[in-house]
Amino acid sequence: MAGHVKVMERPGKQGSYLSAVAGGLGVTLKHLINPHKVSQQYPDEKWELSPRFRGTHRMATHEDGRAKCVGCGLCPAVCPVNCIKLIPAEDENGERYAAVYEIDEFRCIFCGFCQEVCPVEAIHLGVHYENAEYSRERWVYDLERLCSQEHPVTALWDPSDAASE
Protein backbone atom coordinates (compact mmCIF):
# COMPACT_ATOMS: atom_id res chain seq x y z
CA MET A 1 0.00 0.00 0.00
CA ALA A 2 3.03 2.18 0.24
CA GLY A 3 3.29 4.78 -2.43
CA HIS A 4 4.09 8.39 -2.86
CA VAL A 5 1.25 10.74 -3.66
CA LYS A 6 2.45 13.93 -5.25
CA VAL A 7 0.52 16.84 -3.84
CA MET A 8 0.37 19.68 -6.34
CA GLU A 9 0.93 23.18 -5.07
CA ARG A 10 -2.32 25.06 -5.58
CA PRO A 11 -1.88 28.60 -6.85
CA GLY A 12 -2.24 30.88 -3.88
CA LYS A 13 -4.32 33.98 -3.69
CA GLN A 14 -1.70 35.94 -5.57
CA GLY A 15 -1.92 34.05 -8.87
CA SER A 16 -1.89 36.24 -11.95
CA TYR A 17 -4.40 35.14 -14.55
CA LEU A 18 -2.72 36.92 -17.43
CA SER A 19 0.67 35.33 -16.76
CA ALA A 20 -0.99 31.93 -16.52
CA VAL A 21 -2.78 32.55 -19.82
CA ALA A 22 0.47 33.56 -21.49
CA GLY A 23 2.09 30.39 -20.19
CA GLY A 24 -0.79 28.28 -21.46
CA LEU A 25 -0.67 29.91 -24.87
CA GLY A 26 3.02 29.10 -25.01
CA VAL A 27 2.34 25.43 -24.34
CA THR A 28 -0.35 25.19 -27.01
CA LEU A 29 1.79 27.09 -29.52
CA LYS A 30 4.57 24.59 -28.97
CA HIS A 31 2.18 21.76 -29.80
CA LEU A 32 0.64 23.70 -32.69
CA ILE A 33 3.95 23.98 -34.53
CA ASN A 34 5.29 20.62 -33.45
CA PRO A 35 5.27 18.50 -36.62
CA HIS A 36 4.99 15.23 -34.71
CA LYS A 37 1.37 14.13 -34.78
CA VAL A 38 0.26 10.96 -33.06
CA SER A 39 -2.70 10.22 -35.35
CA GLN A 40 -2.42 7.13 -37.49
CA GLN A 41 -3.97 7.53 -40.95
CA TYR A 42 -5.78 4.24 -40.50
CA PRO A 43 -6.88 2.91 -43.87
CA ASP A 44 -3.63 4.17 -45.40
CA GLU A 45 -1.32 3.15 -42.59
CA LYS A 46 -2.04 0.07 -40.55
CA TRP A 47 -0.85 -1.31 -37.30
CA GLU A 48 1.90 -3.83 -37.44
CA LEU A 49 0.20 -6.73 -35.70
CA SER A 50 1.94 -9.17 -33.43
CA PRO A 51 2.24 -12.70 -34.89
CA ARG A 52 0.24 -13.81 -31.86
CA PHE A 53 -2.63 -11.41 -32.60
CA ARG A 54 -5.88 -13.38 -32.44
CA GLY A 55 -8.44 -12.29 -35.01
CA THR A 56 -10.77 -13.67 -37.67
CA HIS A 57 -10.80 -17.48 -37.91
CA ARG A 58 -9.40 -19.45 -40.76
CA MET A 59 -9.76 -23.16 -41.60
CA ALA A 60 -6.75 -25.03 -42.94
CA THR A 61 -7.35 -27.15 -46.04
CA HIS A 62 -5.81 -30.16 -47.76
CA GLU A 63 -4.24 -29.73 -51.21
CA ASP A 64 -7.49 -30.75 -52.88
CA GLY A 65 -9.37 -28.00 -51.07
CA ARG A 66 -11.17 -30.13 -48.46
CA ALA A 67 -11.18 -28.70 -44.95
CA LYS A 68 -8.80 -30.45 -42.59
CA CYS A 69 -11.49 -30.63 -39.91
CA VAL A 70 -12.35 -34.17 -38.83
CA GLY A 71 -15.44 -33.19 -36.85
CA CYS A 72 -14.09 -34.41 -33.51
CA GLY A 73 -16.18 -31.88 -31.61
CA LEU A 74 -13.43 -30.63 -29.35
CA CYS A 75 -13.64 -26.99 -30.43
CA PRO A 76 -17.39 -26.53 -29.71
CA ALA A 77 -16.78 -28.29 -26.42
CA VAL A 78 -13.94 -26.03 -25.36
CA CYS A 79 -15.43 -22.81 -26.73
CA PRO A 80 -16.29 -20.65 -23.68
CA VAL A 81 -19.01 -18.70 -25.49
CA ASN A 82 -20.54 -21.46 -27.62
CA CYS A 83 -19.92 -19.67 -30.86
CA ILE A 84 -18.97 -22.76 -32.88
CA LYS A 85 -21.68 -24.88 -34.42
CA LEU A 86 -20.43 -28.28 -35.64
CA ILE A 87 -22.45 -31.16 -37.14
CA PRO A 88 -20.04 -34.00 -37.97
CA ALA A 89 -20.66 -36.54 -40.73
CA GLU A 90 -18.92 -39.60 -42.19
CA ASP A 91 -18.14 -40.15 -45.88
CA GLU A 92 -18.21 -43.48 -47.81
CA ASN A 93 -14.55 -44.17 -46.86
CA GLY A 94 -15.45 -43.93 -43.19
CA GLU A 95 -13.64 -40.60 -42.80
CA ARG A 96 -15.29 -38.07 -40.55
CA TYR A 97 -15.76 -34.49 -41.76
CA ALA A 98 -17.72 -31.40 -40.74
CA ALA A 99 -21.04 -31.33 -42.57
CA VAL A 100 -21.87 -28.00 -40.94
CA TYR A 101 -19.21 -25.83 -39.40
CA GLU A 102 -20.14 -22.27 -38.48
CA ILE A 103 -18.44 -19.72 -36.29
CA ASP A 104 -20.33 -16.71 -35.06
CA GLU A 105 -17.63 -14.04 -35.06
CA PHE A 106 -19.94 -11.73 -33.12
CA ARG A 107 -20.02 -14.05 -30.14
CA CYS A 108 -16.42 -15.15 -30.39
CA ILE A 109 -14.11 -13.68 -27.78
CA PHE A 110 -11.00 -14.71 -29.72
CA CYS A 111 -9.54 -16.67 -26.83
CA GLY A 112 -7.82 -19.11 -29.20
CA PHE A 113 -8.87 -22.25 -27.30
CA CYS A 114 -10.27 -23.83 -30.48
CA GLN A 115 -6.93 -23.49 -32.22
CA GLU A 116 -5.12 -24.88 -29.18
CA VAL A 117 -7.41 -27.86 -28.78
CA CYS A 118 -7.66 -28.88 -32.45
CA PRO A 119 -5.95 -32.30 -32.88
CA VAL A 120 -5.43 -31.89 -36.65
CA GLU A 121 -4.50 -28.19 -36.67
CA ALA A 122 -7.52 -27.37 -38.80
CA ILE A 123 -9.12 -24.32 -37.16
CA HIS A 124 -6.92 -21.30 -36.57
CA LEU A 125 -7.31 -17.74 -35.49
CA GLY A 126 -5.84 -15.22 -37.90
CA VAL A 127 -3.76 -12.09 -37.78
CA HIS A 128 -6.62 -10.06 -39.18
CA TYR A 129 -9.28 -7.75 -37.81
CA GLU A 130 -11.04 -5.93 -40.65
CA ASN A 131 -14.28 -7.87 -40.81
CA ALA A 132 -17.00 -5.24 -40.79
CA GLU A 133 -20.24 -6.29 -42.48
CA TYR A 134 -23.55 -4.70 -43.42
CA SER A 135 -25.70 -7.39 -41.76
CA ARG A 136 -25.48 -9.53 -38.66
CA GLU A 137 -26.00 -12.73 -40.67
CA ARG A 138 -22.80 -12.07 -42.55
CA TRP A 139 -20.92 -12.39 -39.29
CA VAL A 140 -21.65 -16.11 -39.08
CA TYR A 141 -18.84 -17.63 -41.09
CA ASP A 142 -19.62 -20.98 -42.71
CA LEU A 143 -17.09 -23.63 -43.61
CA GLU A 144 -16.57 -22.43 -47.16
CA ARG A 145 -15.87 -18.90 -46.03
CA LEU A 146 -13.52 -20.07 -43.28
CA CYS A 147 -11.57 -22.12 -45.83
CA SER A 148 -11.28 -19.22 -48.26
CA GLN A 149 -9.70 -16.80 -45.78
CA GLU A 150 -6.17 -15.92 -46.78
CA HIS A 151 -4.67 -13.94 -43.92
CA PRO A 152 -1.75 -15.37 -41.92
CA VAL A 153 -2.68 -17.63 -39.02
CA THR A 154 -1.97 -16.81 -35.41
CA ALA A 155 1.17 -18.25 -33.85
CA LEU A 156 0.33 -20.08 -30.66
CA TRP A 157 2.04 -19.18 -27.46
CA ASP A 158 5.07 -21.38 -26.96
CA PRO A 159 5.77 -22.15 -23.27
CA SER A 160 9.48 -22.68 -23.98
CA ASP A 161 9.68 -19.23 -25.48
CA ALA A 162 7.36 -17.35 -23.17
CA ALA A 163 8.39 -13.88 -24.26
CA SER A 164 8.09 -14.71 -28.01
CA GLU A 165 11.74 -14.09 -28.83
Partner: protein, 413 residues
Protein backbone atom coordinates in the same frame (compact mmCIF):
# COMPACT_ATOMS: atom_id res chain seq x y z
CA UNK B 1 -11.23 61.45 -60.49
CA UNK B 2 -14.61 61.70 -58.84
CA UNK B 3 -16.81 59.44 -56.82
CA UNK B 4 -19.43 57.31 -58.49
CA UNK B 5 -22.92 58.71 -58.84
CA UNK B 6 -26.35 57.46 -59.85
CA UNK B 7 -26.55 54.07 -61.56
CA UNK B 8 -22.82 53.51 -61.25
CA UNK B 9 -23.07 53.73 -57.48
CA UNK B 10 -25.91 51.21 -57.43
CA UNK B 11 -24.11 48.73 -59.70
CA UNK B 12 -20.92 49.06 -57.67
CA UNK B 13 -22.87 48.52 -54.46
CA UNK B 14 -24.55 45.38 -55.79
CA UNK B 15 -21.22 43.96 -56.98
CA UNK B 16 -19.60 44.72 -53.64
CA UNK B 17 -22.44 43.17 -51.66
CA UNK B 18 -22.47 40.00 -53.75
CA UNK B 19 -18.69 39.58 -53.70
CA UNK B 20 -18.35 40.25 -50.02
CA UNK B 21 -21.27 38.06 -49.04
CA UNK B 22 -20.09 35.11 -51.14
CA UNK B 23 -16.57 35.51 -49.88
CA UNK B 24 -17.76 35.71 -46.30
CA UNK B 25 -19.88 32.57 -46.56
CA UNK B 26 -17.03 30.62 -48.15
CA UNK B 27 -14.69 31.86 -45.46
CA UNK B 28 -17.15 30.90 -42.75
CA UNK B 29 -17.25 27.37 -44.13
CA UNK B 30 -13.49 27.35 -44.35
CA UNK B 31 -13.20 28.67 -40.80
CA UNK B 32 -15.01 25.62 -39.43
CA UNK B 33 -12.40 23.48 -41.15
CA UNK B 34 -9.49 25.63 -40.01
CA UNK B 35 -10.76 25.56 -36.45
CA UNK B 36 -10.77 21.77 -36.44
CA UNK B 37 -7.34 21.64 -38.02
CA UNK B 38 -5.94 24.05 -35.44
CA UNK B 39 -7.60 22.09 -32.66
CA UNK B 40 -6.08 18.93 -34.05
CA UNK B 41 -2.61 20.38 -34.30
CA UNK B 42 -2.73 21.80 -30.80
CA UNK B 43 -3.73 18.39 -29.49
CA UNK B 44 -1.03 16.62 -31.53
CA UNK B 45 -3.61 15.16 -33.89
CA UNK B 46 -3.90 15.89 -37.57
CA UNK B 47 -7.54 17.02 -37.71
CA UNK B 48 -9.83 16.48 -40.71
CA UNK B 49 -7.62 15.69 -43.69
CA UNK B 50 -9.49 13.14 -45.76
CA UNK B 51 -12.05 15.06 -47.84
CA UNK B 52 -10.25 16.67 -50.75
CA UNK B 53 -6.66 17.92 -50.66
CA UNK B 54 -5.54 18.20 -47.00
CA UNK B 55 -9.22 18.05 -46.04
CA UNK B 56 -10.19 21.39 -47.58
CA UNK B 57 -13.57 20.09 -48.71
CA UNK B 58 -14.54 18.98 -45.21
CA UNK B 59 -16.97 21.88 -44.93
CA UNK B 60 -18.76 20.74 -48.10
CA UNK B 61 -19.12 17.25 -46.71
CA UNK B 62 -20.38 18.62 -43.39
CA UNK B 63 -22.88 20.88 -45.12
CA UNK B 64 -24.18 18.03 -47.23
CA UNK B 65 -24.52 15.85 -44.17
CA UNK B 66 -26.43 18.57 -42.31
CA UNK B 67 -28.83 19.05 -45.20
CA UNK B 68 -29.57 15.35 -45.43
CA UNK B 69 -30.13 14.82 -41.72
CA UNK B 70 -33.53 14.50 -40.15
CA UNK B 71 -34.95 17.75 -38.92
CA UNK B 72 -36.58 17.57 -35.53
CA UNK B 73 -38.39 20.17 -33.54
CA UNK B 74 -39.84 19.71 -30.08
CA UNK B 75 -43.62 19.38 -29.80
CA UNK B 76 -43.86 22.15 -27.26
CA UNK B 77 -41.57 24.51 -29.16
CA UNK B 78 -42.77 27.88 -30.27
CA UNK B 79 -42.47 27.04 -33.94
CA UNK B 80 -42.05 30.40 -35.62
CA UNK B 81 -39.41 31.66 -33.18
CA UNK B 82 -37.75 28.27 -33.22
CA UNK B 83 -37.28 28.69 -36.97
CA UNK B 84 -36.33 32.33 -36.73
CA UNK B 85 -33.57 31.96 -34.14
CA UNK B 86 -30.86 30.36 -36.33
CA UNK B 87 -31.34 33.05 -38.94
CA UNK B 88 -31.12 35.73 -36.27
CA UNK B 89 -27.71 34.51 -35.16
CA UNK B 90 -26.15 34.59 -38.60
CA UNK B 91 -27.68 37.78 -39.99
CA UNK B 92 -26.20 40.36 -37.56
CA UNK B 93 -22.77 38.86 -38.02
CA UNK B 94 -22.89 39.10 -41.80
CA UNK B 95 -24.52 42.53 -42.09
CA UNK B 96 -21.82 43.98 -39.84
CA UNK B 97 -19.47 43.63 -42.79
CA UNK B 98 -21.38 46.38 -44.59
CA UNK B 99 -19.44 49.12 -42.83
CA UNK B 100 -16.02 47.52 -42.75
CA UNK B 101 -13.55 49.04 -45.23
CA UNK B 102 -11.62 46.18 -46.76
CA UNK B 103 -9.23 47.83 -49.20
CA UNK B 104 -7.97 51.08 -50.65
CA UNK B 105 -10.29 52.83 -53.15
CA UNK B 106 -10.36 51.22 -56.58
CA UNK B 107 -10.12 53.56 -59.59
CA UNK B 108 -12.38 52.46 -62.44
CA UNK B 109 -13.37 53.97 -65.77
CA UNK B 110 -16.51 55.32 -64.18
CA UNK B 111 -15.00 56.82 -61.07
CA UNK B 112 -13.42 55.96 -57.76
CA UNK B 113 -15.00 52.98 -55.99
CA UNK B 114 -14.45 52.89 -52.26
CA UNK B 115 -14.07 49.32 -50.98
CA UNK B 116 -16.75 49.48 -48.36
CA UNK B 117 -20.32 48.42 -48.91
CA UNK B 118 -21.94 51.29 -47.05
CA UNK B 119 -19.80 54.28 -46.20
CA UNK B 120 -22.28 55.63 -43.71
CA UNK B 121 -21.18 58.52 -41.49
CA UNK B 122 -22.32 56.58 -38.42
CA UNK B 123 -20.53 53.32 -39.26
CA UNK B 124 -19.27 53.06 -35.75
CA UNK B 125 -22.69 53.26 -34.11
CA UNK B 126 -24.04 50.81 -36.67
CA UNK B 127 -21.49 48.26 -35.47
CA UNK B 128 -22.36 48.76 -31.81
CA UNK B 129 -26.07 48.54 -32.55
CA UNK B 130 -25.94 45.43 -34.69
CA UNK B 131 -23.41 43.46 -32.71
CA UNK B 132 -25.87 43.54 -29.79
CA UNK B 133 -28.57 42.04 -32.00
CA UNK B 134 -26.71 38.73 -32.02
CA UNK B 135 -28.07 38.01 -28.56
CA UNK B 136 -31.59 37.67 -29.96
CA UNK B 137 -30.64 34.50 -31.78
CA UNK B 138 -29.43 32.94 -28.54
CA UNK B 139 -32.32 34.08 -26.39
CA UNK B 140 -35.00 33.15 -28.88
CA UNK B 141 -33.41 29.76 -29.53
CA UNK B 142 -33.26 29.09 -25.81
CA UNK B 143 -36.76 30.27 -25.12
CA UNK B 144 -38.51 28.83 -28.18
CA UNK B 145 -37.06 25.35 -27.60
CA UNK B 146 -39.10 25.00 -24.42
CA UNK B 147 -36.34 22.95 -22.84
CA UNK B 148 -34.78 23.82 -19.54
CA UNK B 149 -31.22 23.37 -20.71
CA UNK B 150 -31.73 25.46 -23.78
CA UNK B 151 -33.51 28.07 -21.68
CA UNK B 152 -30.65 28.28 -19.18
CA UNK B 153 -28.23 28.56 -22.07
CA UNK B 154 -30.24 31.38 -23.57
CA UNK B 155 -30.45 33.21 -20.24
CA UNK B 156 -26.75 32.91 -19.70
CA UNK B 157 -26.16 34.06 -23.24
CA UNK B 158 -28.20 37.20 -22.78
CA UNK B 159 -26.64 38.03 -19.41
CA UNK B 160 -23.16 37.49 -20.79
CA UNK B 161 -23.65 39.41 -24.01
CA UNK B 162 -25.24 42.38 -22.27
CA UNK B 163 -22.39 42.47 -19.76
CA UNK B 164 -19.67 42.33 -22.36
CA UNK B 165 -21.46 44.62 -24.76
CA UNK B 166 -20.63 47.36 -22.29
CA UNK B 167 -16.97 46.39 -22.26
CA UNK B 168 -16.99 46.27 -26.03
CA UNK B 169 -18.51 49.71 -26.42
CA UNK B 170 -16.45 51.31 -23.66
CA UNK B 171 -13.20 49.95 -25.03
CA UNK B 172 -13.98 51.79 -28.27
CA UNK B 173 -14.48 55.16 -26.58
CA UNK B 174 -10.70 55.80 -26.48
CA UNK B 175 -10.61 55.07 -30.21
CA UNK B 176 -13.25 57.73 -30.72
CA UNK B 177 -11.36 60.16 -28.49
CA UNK B 178 -8.27 59.63 -30.58
CA UNK B 179 -9.87 59.53 -34.02
CA UNK B 180 -12.48 62.21 -33.43
CA UNK B 181 -14.62 60.56 -36.10
CA UNK B 182 -17.11 57.73 -36.45
CA UNK B 183 -16.69 57.13 -40.18
CA UNK B 184 -15.01 53.75 -40.67
CA UNK B 185 -12.69 54.60 -43.62
CA UNK B 186 -11.60 57.65 -41.68
CA UNK B 187 -10.69 55.43 -38.72
CA UNK B 188 -8.36 53.51 -41.01
CA UNK B 189 -6.90 56.74 -42.40
CA UNK B 190 -6.23 58.00 -38.88
CA UNK B 191 -3.85 55.08 -38.43
CA UNK B 192 -1.87 55.97 -41.55
CA UNK B 193 0.35 58.94 -42.26
CA UNK B 194 -0.40 61.54 -44.94
CA UNK B 195 1.08 64.64 -46.45
CA UNK B 196 -1.47 67.37 -45.95
CA UNK B 197 -5.09 67.12 -44.88
CA UNK B 198 -6.26 66.82 -41.27
CA UNK B 199 -3.62 65.33 -38.97
CA UNK B 200 -3.35 61.57 -38.61
CA UNK B 201 -1.30 59.38 -36.29
CA UNK B 202 0.68 57.16 -38.64
CA UNK B 203 0.60 54.42 -36.02
CA UNK B 204 -1.81 51.55 -35.57
CA UNK B 205 -4.12 52.16 -32.62
CA UNK B 206 -3.06 48.91 -31.01
CA UNK B 207 0.02 50.76 -29.73
CA UNK B 208 -1.36 54.07 -28.46
CA UNK B 209 -4.44 52.23 -27.13
CA UNK B 210 -2.89 48.95 -26.05
CA UNK B 211 -5.20 48.35 -23.11
CA UNK B 212 -8.32 49.24 -25.09
CA UNK B 213 -7.23 46.85 -27.83
CA UNK B 214 -6.82 44.08 -25.30
CA UNK B 215 -10.20 44.75 -23.71
CA UNK B 216 -11.87 44.93 -27.10
CA UNK B 217 -10.28 41.64 -28.06
CA UNK B 218 -11.47 39.92 -24.87
CA UNK B 219 -14.95 41.40 -25.18
CA UNK B 220 -15.08 40.15 -28.76
CA UNK B 221 -14.34 36.68 -27.47
CA UNK B 222 -17.26 37.01 -25.10
CA UNK B 223 -19.51 38.45 -27.81
CA UNK B 224 -18.78 35.56 -30.13
CA UNK B 225 -19.47 33.08 -27.28
CA UNK B 226 -16.16 31.38 -27.66
CA UNK B 227 -14.03 29.84 -24.99
CA UNK B 228 -13.22 30.90 -22.35
CA UNK B 229 -16.64 32.60 -22.54
CA UNK B 230 -18.81 29.87 -24.04
CA UNK B 231 -21.06 29.64 -21.00
CA UNK B 232 -24.27 29.70 -23.12
CA UNK B 233 -23.42 26.30 -24.53
CA UNK B 234 -21.41 24.90 -21.64
CA UNK B 235 -21.81 21.26 -22.60
CA UNK B 236 -20.69 19.93 -19.25
CA UNK B 237 -23.71 21.36 -17.47
CA UNK B 238 -26.20 22.39 -20.18
CA UNK B 239 -26.04 19.55 -22.75
CA UNK B 240 -25.45 21.95 -25.63
CA UNK B 241 -26.97 25.12 -24.21
CA UNK B 242 -29.25 27.20 -26.37
CA UNK B 243 -29.04 24.89 -29.40
CA UNK B 244 -29.76 21.67 -27.50
CA UNK B 245 -33.01 21.06 -29.37
CA UNK B 246 -31.74 21.93 -32.81
CA UNK B 247 -30.74 19.45 -35.45
CA UNK B 248 -29.84 19.25 -39.10
CA UNK B 249 -29.21 22.48 -41.01
CA UNK B 250 -30.77 24.63 -38.30
CA UNK B 251 -28.03 23.45 -35.96
CA UNK B 252 -25.44 24.13 -38.63
CA UNK B 253 -26.77 27.67 -38.95
CA UNK B 254 -25.75 28.31 -35.34
CA UNK B 255 -22.28 27.04 -36.07
CA UNK B 256 -22.08 29.14 -39.23
CA UNK B 257 -23.34 32.11 -37.24
CA UNK B 258 -20.65 31.59 -34.66
CA UNK B 259 -17.94 31.54 -37.29
CA UNK B 260 -19.41 34.50 -39.14
CA UNK B 261 -19.26 36.35 -35.81
CA UNK B 262 -15.70 35.19 -35.41
CA UNK B 263 -14.60 36.54 -38.79
CA UNK B 264 -16.49 39.78 -38.24
CA UNK B 265 -14.87 40.19 -34.84
CA UNK B 266 -11.48 39.60 -36.45
CA UNK B 267 -12.25 42.23 -39.08
CA UNK B 268 -13.36 44.70 -36.41
CA UNK B 269 -10.19 44.23 -34.39
CA UNK B 270 -8.27 44.76 -37.62
CA UNK B 271 -10.07 47.96 -38.52
CA UNK B 272 -10.07 49.52 -35.09
CA UNK B 273 -6.64 48.56 -33.86
CA UNK B 274 -4.51 46.98 -36.57
CA UNK B 275 -4.71 49.71 -39.17
CA UNK B 276 -7.43 48.14 -41.31
CA UNK B 277 -6.08 47.59 -44.82
CA UNK B 278 -2.91 49.59 -44.13
CA UNK B 279 0.30 47.91 -45.21
CA UNK B 280 2.89 48.50 -42.48
CA UNK B 281 6.10 50.32 -43.34
CA UNK B 282 4.93 51.60 -46.72
CA UNK B 283 3.27 54.97 -47.26
CA UNK B 284 2.45 54.34 -50.93
CA UNK B 285 -0.78 52.59 -50.02
CA UNK B 286 -2.05 55.45 -47.90
CA UNK B 287 -5.05 56.75 -49.80
CA UNK B 288 -7.59 58.89 -48.09
CA UNK B 289 -10.96 59.97 -49.34
CA UNK B 290 -12.05 62.98 -47.34
CA UNK B 291 -15.69 63.65 -46.50
CA UNK B 292 -15.88 66.38 -49.18
CA UNK B 293 -14.79 63.89 -51.86
CA UNK B 294 -11.20 65.06 -52.35
CA UNK B 295 -8.59 62.31 -52.50
CA UNK B 296 -5.13 62.28 -50.95
CA UNK B 297 -2.74 59.70 -52.46
CA UNK B 298 -2.77 57.89 -55.79
CA UNK B 299 -5.25 55.00 -56.01
CA UNK B 300 -4.33 52.20 -58.43
CA UNK B 301 -5.83 48.76 -58.89
CA UNK B 302 -2.76 46.87 -57.69
CA UNK B 303 -2.69 48.91 -54.51
CA UNK B 304 -6.29 47.82 -53.97
CA UNK B 305 -5.28 44.19 -54.38
CA UNK B 306 -2.34 44.58 -52.02
CA UNK B 307 -4.31 46.38 -49.35
CA UNK B 308 -7.13 43.84 -49.59
CA UNK B 309 -4.56 41.09 -49.10
CA UNK B 310 -3.16 42.95 -46.12
CA UNK B 311 -6.64 43.29 -44.62
CA UNK B 312 -7.36 39.59 -45.19
CA UNK B 313 -4.07 38.53 -43.66
CA UNK B 314 -4.61 40.62 -40.56
CA UNK B 315 -8.15 39.34 -40.13
CA UNK B 316 -6.98 35.76 -40.59
CA UNK B 317 -4.28 36.29 -38.02
CA UNK B 318 -6.74 37.64 -35.46
CA UNK B 319 -9.12 34.75 -36.17
CA UNK B 320 -6.28 32.28 -35.69
CA UNK B 321 -5.47 33.89 -32.35
CA UNK B 322 -9.14 33.51 -31.39
CA UNK B 323 -8.87 29.82 -32.22
CA UNK B 324 -5.56 29.46 -30.45
CA UNK B 325 -7.11 30.92 -27.29
CA UNK B 326 -10.13 28.66 -27.56
CA UNK B 327 -7.97 25.56 -27.50
CA UNK B 328 -5.84 26.84 -24.65
CA UNK B 329 -8.12 28.19 -21.96
CA UNK B 330 -10.70 26.41 -19.84
CA UNK B 331 -14.13 27.92 -19.46
CA UNK B 332 -14.78 30.48 -16.74
CA UNK B 333 -17.02 29.67 -13.86
CA UNK B 334 -20.23 31.67 -14.12
CA UNK B 335 -19.50 33.91 -11.14
CA UNK B 336 -16.01 34.57 -12.50
CA UNK B 337 -17.52 35.57 -15.81
CA UNK B 338 -19.89 38.05 -14.22
CA UNK B 339 -17.27 39.37 -11.79
CA UNK B 340 -14.92 39.89 -14.69
CA UNK B 341 -17.47 41.79 -16.73
CA UNK B 342 -18.97 43.99 -14.03
CA UNK B 343 -16.33 44.31 -11.35
CA UNK B 344 -13.19 44.37 -13.47
CA UNK B 345 -13.95 45.54 -16.99
CA UNK B 346 -16.42 48.32 -16.34
CA UNK B 347 -14.69 50.13 -13.47
CA UNK B 348 -11.32 49.47 -15.07
CA UNK B 349 -12.47 50.90 -18.37
CA UNK B 350 -13.94 53.95 -16.68
CA UNK B 351 -10.60 54.64 -15.06
CA UNK B 352 -8.84 53.94 -18.34
CA UNK B 353 -11.06 56.27 -20.33
CA UNK B 354 -10.47 59.03 -17.79
CA UNK B 355 -6.72 58.52 -17.97
CA UNK B 356 -6.70 58.54 -21.77
CA UNK B 357 -8.96 61.58 -21.88
CA UNK B 358 -6.70 63.42 -19.47
CA UNK B 359 -3.62 62.38 -21.44
CA UNK B 360 -5.18 63.60 -24.68
CA UNK B 361 -6.23 66.86 -23.03
CA UNK B 362 -2.75 67.45 -21.65
CA UNK B 363 -1.12 66.60 -24.97
CA UNK B 364 -3.37 68.89 -26.95
CA UNK B 365 -3.11 71.76 -24.49
CA UNK B 366 0.66 71.48 -24.87
CA UNK B 367 0.24 71.97 -28.59
CA UNK B 368 0.89 68.43 -29.81
CA UNK B 369 -0.45 67.76 -33.30
CA UNK B 370 -1.76 64.26 -34.10
CA UNK B 371 1.26 62.31 -35.24
CA UNK B 372 3.75 59.64 -34.23
CA UNK B 373 5.08 61.65 -31.27
CA UNK B 374 1.55 62.13 -29.92
CA UNK B 375 0.82 58.43 -30.39
CA UNK B 376 4.18 57.48 -28.87
CA UNK B 377 3.44 59.30 -25.64
CA UNK B 378 0.03 57.63 -25.46
CA UNK B 379 1.76 54.31 -26.01
CA UNK B 380 4.04 55.01 -23.05
CA UNK B 381 0.99 55.74 -20.90
CA UNK B 382 -0.66 52.53 -22.10
CA UNK B 383 2.44 50.44 -21.56
CA UNK B 384 2.63 51.72 -17.99
CA UNK B 385 -1.05 50.89 -17.46
CA UNK B 386 -0.62 47.46 -19.01
CA UNK B 387 2.35 46.80 -16.73
CA UNK B 388 0.27 47.92 -13.76
CA UNK B 389 -2.54 45.56 -14.73
CA UNK B 390 -0.23 42.65 -15.45
CA UNK B 391 2.04 42.86 -12.43
CA UNK B 392 -0.08 44.50 -9.73
CA UNK B 393 -3.83 44.47 -10.33
CA UNK B 394 -4.16 41.00 -11.82
CA UNK B 395 -3.37 39.23 -8.54
CA UNK B 396 -6.07 37.04 -7.12
CA UNK B 397 -8.78 38.93 -8.97
CA UNK B 398 -9.84 36.26 -11.40
CA UNK B 399 -8.13 33.04 -10.49
CA UNK B 400 -8.19 32.29 -6.86
CA UNK B 401 -6.79 29.22 -5.24
CA UNK B 402 -9.25 26.48 -4.39
CA UNK B 403 -8.88 27.38 -0.73
CA UNK B 404 -10.42 30.77 -1.31
CA UNK B 405 -13.50 29.56 -3.22
CA UNK B 406 -15.67 29.19 -0.10
CA UNK B 407 -14.67 32.75 0.65
CA UNK B 408 -16.03 33.78 -2.72
CA UNK B 409 -19.27 31.92 -2.03
CA UNK B 410 -19.58 33.78 1.27
CA UNK B 411 -19.08 37.08 -0.50
CA UNK B 412 -21.95 36.34 -2.83
CA UNK B 413 -24.44 35.72 -0.02
Amino acid sequence: MTDLTGTGLLVAAVIKVLTLFTLLLVLVALATYVERRVAGFIQDRSGPNRVGPIGLLQAVADGLKSLLKEETSPDEASKSLFFLAPALTIVPATVLFAVIPFGSPLPTRWGLVELIVADVPIGFLYILALSSLGVYGLVLAGWASNSKYAFLGGLRGSAQMISYEIGLAMSLIPVLLLAGNVRMPELVSMQQSFEGGPGTFGLWFVLPLLVAAFVFFVSSLAETNRLPFDLPEAEAELVAGYHTEYSSMKFSMFILGEYAHLITAGALVTVFFLGGWDIPGWTGDNIRVLADGSVIGEPTWWKTVLTFTSFSLKTTLVVLVFMWIRWTLPRFRYDQLMDFGWKVFIPGLMAYISIIAIAIYVLESRGFEPGPAYAGILFAVNAALAGLVWFVLDRGVLVRGAASVPQAAKEME
